[in-house]
Amino acid sequence: MEYFFQQVINGLTLGAIYGLIALGYTMVYGIIGMINFAHGEIYMLGAFISLIAYLVFSSIGGGSVALALLAALLVTMVFTALWGWVVERMAYRPLRGAPRLAPLISAIGVSILLQNFVQIAQGARVKPLPPVIQGGITLDLGAEIALSISWLQIVIFLLTLTLMVGFTWIIARTSLGRAQRATEQDMKMAALLGVNVDRVVSTTFVIGAALAGVAGMMVTLYYGVIDFYIGFIAGIKAFTAAVLGGIGSLPGAMLGGLLIGLTESLWSAYFSIQYKDVATFAILVGVLLFRPSGLFGRPDVEKV
């Protein structure tokens, strides 16, 4: 039983990371109806940038680990946001209105490009980072069940929660959020009513990329090893999470992420660790077959 609860905690941590990436997929899909295949690579860039930034800040900043981490987090968000903006601007915006498959293929191109760019720039070997945040607390639940939760896991939960709340507030309350919801419903009409659609789409990519950057930093700290290839599988899993939650729905993406994280961790714990990716893909196929609109999505009707 203790093992089970421990796996649930680990799964939820993983799920929080997937959920943050999934938000980027779901927002972009909601607004321009495109699968941003390169989103996983932005997350990978985030992992690398955060590692580099952390090393830089911890060498110039002196002793404080917390300060270095905070600075690295901000720098990571800024730089991944910049990458997201540039990718949208150069590879996707010119293709708005092109045949449906064109942006997807362009996105695959961006994905291959970024992967190989990082491989060449930083080398193909895995980059290890010794644990930065150590220790944790032990929860005594009685009945001889004692759960250990590391500080890092708590940080990841809190950060995800903060970002989610902030993000929901932006979408629900600010004028930017209003413009975004309007564009999502009807891009042409929103443009006629004075919404700067291009800017809204850009902002969507920027926010999504910044969140993926945070996820990248979390994974760097949590696993302690990264390489240039982590974006591909994580991207597909996050996409699965977005589909599972109902693509276009923000709480759905987060819930989907948590479910995928749980599945993966329980599957590895009880069945087989080699086939954990197969479990995720099976969920993806299953959801698309039996409930394409996901848990929270609206069923979309194809019109002539």
């Binding site: 940038i49 910049l82 590879a91 191109g109 760019f117 980059k127 290890p128 980072l129 099976a282 077959l289």
Partner: protein, 417 residues
Amino acid sequence: MEDSSPPLIRSAALAALLAALLALPLLGVRLVDSANGLSLSGRPELVAWAAGGVFCGRLIIDLFRRWIRDFSIRLPVPPPPPEWTRFGVGWALALFALVLPFLPFADRNLVDKATMVLIYIMLGWGLNIVVGLAGLLDLGFVAFYAVGAYSYALLSMTFGLSFWVCLPLAGLFAAAFGLALGFPVLRLRGDYLAIVTLGFGEIIRIVLQNWQDLTGGPIGISGIERPSLFGLSFKAVPPEGQTGFAEFFGLNYSADHRVIFLYFLILALALATNLFTLRIRRLPVGRAWEALREDEIACRSLGINPTTIKLSAFALGAMFAGFAGSFFATRQGFISPESFTFIESAMILAIVVLGGMGSQIGIVLAALLLVGLPEWFRDLQMYRMLAFGAAMVLIMLWKPSGLLSSRSPTIRLGGRA
């Protein structure tokens, strides 16, 4: 011209600044892992190079655009080539491919590379049925290629069947896999389908990697039987009861014979694929593929069953991938899951898309460009995939519908309009 030059410089400078910023963390700093953990080393010169490169590039592009606008130069639009040139080019290419191994400059190396290119041409033609004609985006095509390769390898290793018996079987197996996968997922919309097929491709690879008893896991299968020509072996010492190819024709034994034989084998397979596609496009099912690609709702209201039609395209494409896979296995004599990664799928898809989704000749050109060209630049191996990704993006931006796009239906009512 004078008044507008500052913005020109300014936009280039902005682009350069952006490039420098983007490059700063990833190019400017390198992670060095040594015995005592990670350390950093700076490479500011690379950031400067990136910024400088982008500055010049942006300036040149802007100047070029301005030059076109100011002098209202129309880039010449080539007139559509007459009907016979298309056939002419096709026949000329086929003829050239036929005599290639006997040309004076063709050494073993060149024939080997041509064989590699032909495998991709065949895969491209197979995927073209799915993507180009039926309009279904398949990101897991390599799965069927893998199924073909492993079917041949396993059948030949376990039951000792010859290549010629296994070839149709491998195609059948791949087609069956295509049917099994396609049946549930083909109802999905375009981009969902793409992701599901991608997932399927990965599942196949993971299974191949982990099912050690059957597939040998990451080590793969080696020592796969080579094909023979009507029982004529290409080995230096033919096995008991068989005649060697060289002996039969009274030639001196040479290892080149097999290389040339394999070349002709894949050429025949590829041309068969091509012929099949060209023919089936004129049949009702082929026309239904193209109609479905253009407008699914209209098709449904005309009584075409989209699922069966899509399924047939999916299975046929998979079958050709299976043929190509078993050829790959017999040529290499060794297969492992490494050869069937997502990058292969992306490569084949890029060939089809680059070729213009539906154009048979376009696929030949694209395969020459994407597979043939990098083969010559082996030294730049590292940068090959980088350039490949960039090319995919740039070609989409430049021509969203491909190099030689032939979206026009194969058959028209009442002759050519």
